[in-house]
């Protein structure tokens, strides 16, 4: 079941949803609008290999923003710290941003219950676009889980700023043959 805007507001006030800073005017019918933070990550590898660490550089955008070309891929982050031990957050682009051809996540929209931090946006632009820190870029909805809850204790817990992938750390599990 998806939470409504008034319920999101109530659950933030009761502490069962963590959104900080929280602005009342960002609450919509079924979501909360997320703001773009100033930090970005760009991978510098020719070929991305998930089995190995991939080199990247980190930079900050000024108030004039950054220009993404067609087909660019960058990591950004939400200005807000976000999380819940009671509901499952799912992130989305704002439709106004999607209408400009920008993906804010690369098919990984589900945030684990119990994960708290800045959201890392996976920014993929299908058209040239300028992104400005402080713009409302995404939205988060909250979903009620079914069954016993085991909270997230993974490697991205407590993220601040854009968090590059650390998949190489557990790319092959112990049960894999190689």
């Amino acid at each position: 079941m998806i939470l409504t805007g008034p319920t999101i507001r109530r659950e933030v006030q009761s502490g069962r949803i963590n959104i900080s800073p929280f602005r009342l005017e960002h609450v919509t019918s079924n979501s909360y609008d997320l703001t773009l933070g100033p930090g970005f990550v760009r991978y510098t590898e020719e070929i991305i290999d998930p089995a190995k660490p991939n080199r990247y550089h980190t930079f900050h955008a000024g108030p004039e923003g950054i220009r993404l070309g067609q087909g660019d891929f960058l990591l950004g982050h939400s200005a807000e710290v976000l999380g819940s031990d009671h509901y499952v957050p799912i992130i989305h682009a704002r439709s106004s941003v999607a209408r400009l051809g920008l993906f804010v996540h690369v098919t990984a929209d589900l945030i684990d219950i119990g994960s708290h931090g800045n959201v890392t946006f996976q920014l993929f632009s299908t058209l040239p676009i300028t992104l400005t820190p402080g713009m409302r870029i995404g939205q988060v909805s909250f979903w009620k889980p079914l069954g016993k809850v085991e909270l997230y204790r993974g490697k991205y817990q407590g993220s601040r700023g854009p968090r590059p992938s650390e998949v190489y750390k557990d790319f092959w599990s112990d049960t894999d043959k190689r």
Binding site: E45, I48, D49, F73, L75, V106, T107, D112
Partner: protein, 154 residues
């Protein structure tokens, strides 16, 4: 819910469980798009152990190792955040798995940058969703195939 027989994940490994989803693996077959004179075709290969590099911004067809399904829940197949952070799209905006289907799912893979994939890698995640209303089980279309299935529109 798996213990209650309400959903199928086969083979199942508890280490692949997340708080709200299960990480599925990439199966051995990959469909590579070929632009022939009379239109688009897919050529199928076995993924080599050392991996295979996807060209940027091209769609490839893969499949899950696991048979995944449920007669009780609807499903959503999406990518993993660890691979999304590297620019790998899983399922091209068609993430909904219908209640009643159970098979190795066809995966649509699109990488933002050239990307090396390996057979058996944990590539995406599946979540299960409660239905509201009467359930008519899905028993048609692509629901019975284990190999990567090319679009019927081709």
């Amino acid at each position: 819910m798996r213990g209650l027989g309400q959903l199928t994940i086969e083979p199942f490994d508890a280490s692949q469980l997340n708080p709200n989803s299960y990480n599925y693996r990439l199966g051995p077959k990959l469909g590579i798009p070929v632009f022939a004179a009379d239109g688009l075709e897919f050529e199928f290969i076995e993924l080599p152990e050392e991996g295979y590099v996807l060209k940027a911004q091209t769609v490839y067809l893969g499949h899950t190792v696991e048979r995944l399904g449920s007669n009780y829940f609807a499903m959503s197949l999406i990518g993993r955040s660890s691979l999304g952070r590297l620019g790998l799209f899983l399922q091209v905006s068609a993430n909904l798995g219908h209640t009643g289907s159970c098979h190795q799912w066809t995966l649509e893979l699109v990488a933002a940058k050239p990307f090396r994939i390996y057979p058996q890698m944990k590539i995406g995640q599946i979540s299960f969703w409660t239905n509201a209303g009467h359930v008519d089980l899905y028993r048609e279309g692509y629901s019975s195939f284990d190999d990567p299935q090319v679009s019927k529109l081709l």
